[in-house]
Symmetry: C2
């Protein structure tokens, strides 16, 4: 059974694996995302590039001769009308972001990169889920901000927590909205790495 390393410190991503009872380890990769955000205007190209860089960085950190280690890296952004929306730095920014998301649809885009530690092949892909919020009053947005769920999250919300109250509809993979398109990862691991997550 190949060891799985999730090159991410996101609590949301870890929980997706934890719930499946799949053993894994996490690894923090320091990528200066801002440098790249200025170079890529296409959101899909950006998240794919960042996911790839994180996977390569993880390989470099591990420098392991160990065989059979699978590295999974990901990067998630919110896209609204072609504009990339990242994480908010403070409550005012979070309010501004949520105000923009209310009563309309946006896209949640996650880039993924999967690689085996002792193999140069890196599979890079992405998944996109469309999310529609219901209308929220300014007071409701502020009430939500007080829960602090916006912190560290692309688009300032988490679909599994209080924001589930605002999500009218999604179209696409639900796990992708949490930060990892699990169905896509399952398929890539099976076809490209001969790994079945059902075996764990």
């Amino acid at each position: 059974m190949k060891k799985i390393i999730l090159a991410s410190k996101s609590k949301d991503r870890s929980e997706l694996f934890t719930r499946l009872n799949i053993p894994f380890e996490t690894l923090k990769t320091q990528i200066n995302e801002k440098d790249y955000k200025n170079h890529y205007s296409d959101p899909i190209e950006l998240v794919k590039e960042l996911a790839k860089l994180k996977a390569l960085k993880a390989k470099e950190i591990l420098k392991s001769k160990e065989k059979g280690v699978i590295i999974i890296a990901a990067d998630t952004i919110v896209e609204l009308n072609g504009k990339i929306i990242g994480k908010a730095r403070n409550e005012e920014e979070a309010f501004h972001t949520l105000k923009n998301l209310t009563n309309r649809s946006h896209n949640l885009i996650t880039g993924i990169a999967i690689s085996e530690i002792n193999d140069s092949k890196v599979i890079v892909d992405y998944d996109m889920t469309n999310v529609t919020f219901l209308y929220l009053s300014d007071d409701e947005i502020w009430e939500y901000i007080k829960t602090e769920e916006w912190k560290g999250r692309a688009g300032c919300y988490s679909i599994r927590d209080r924001a589930s109250l605002f999500i009218k509809e999604i179209r696409g993979s639900p796990s992708n909205v949490i930060g990892l398109p699990m169905e896509k990862i399952f398929r890539i691991l099976k076809s490209e790495f001969n790994v079945s997550l059902l075996d764990y």
Copy 2:
């Protein structure tokens, strides 16, 4: 702050509320669902009726003079090509159900009934989410059945657990797939009962 009673013993439904940090109590209502399943051929009418009956039963059990108690009841079924698919009684039935769901779309329908204990008004509604599974081989279905996630669940799967690996796309409310359309409940509580779940 009105007390919330969830007239359901479903672990999945409870978790939806727990994650929101909303205090609530659960209550088991014994309804002989089979009696009704034979009388309602329309899935939507069936889940609405069952949710209403559960809410009324909860009121009867509580017999409380206490003011400000909100009762939320729900019933979930899976509908595939107009046919209602319930819970499986054994592994063979679970295999048969999952085999039917693979490589196509089905609907997850939840009926909800909301009422205040000392008020005769009962708001009954439903929500429907379309779920698309990827193709699974017979071996993969059996591997999934071994996880026992199928037990006690309409459609024999849970979107949050290993079945997240099979779910290609959903269209509609993600919490509805888990057993409670949270966005709809949020809106009904606000408009009909003057209760904001954001206040809890």
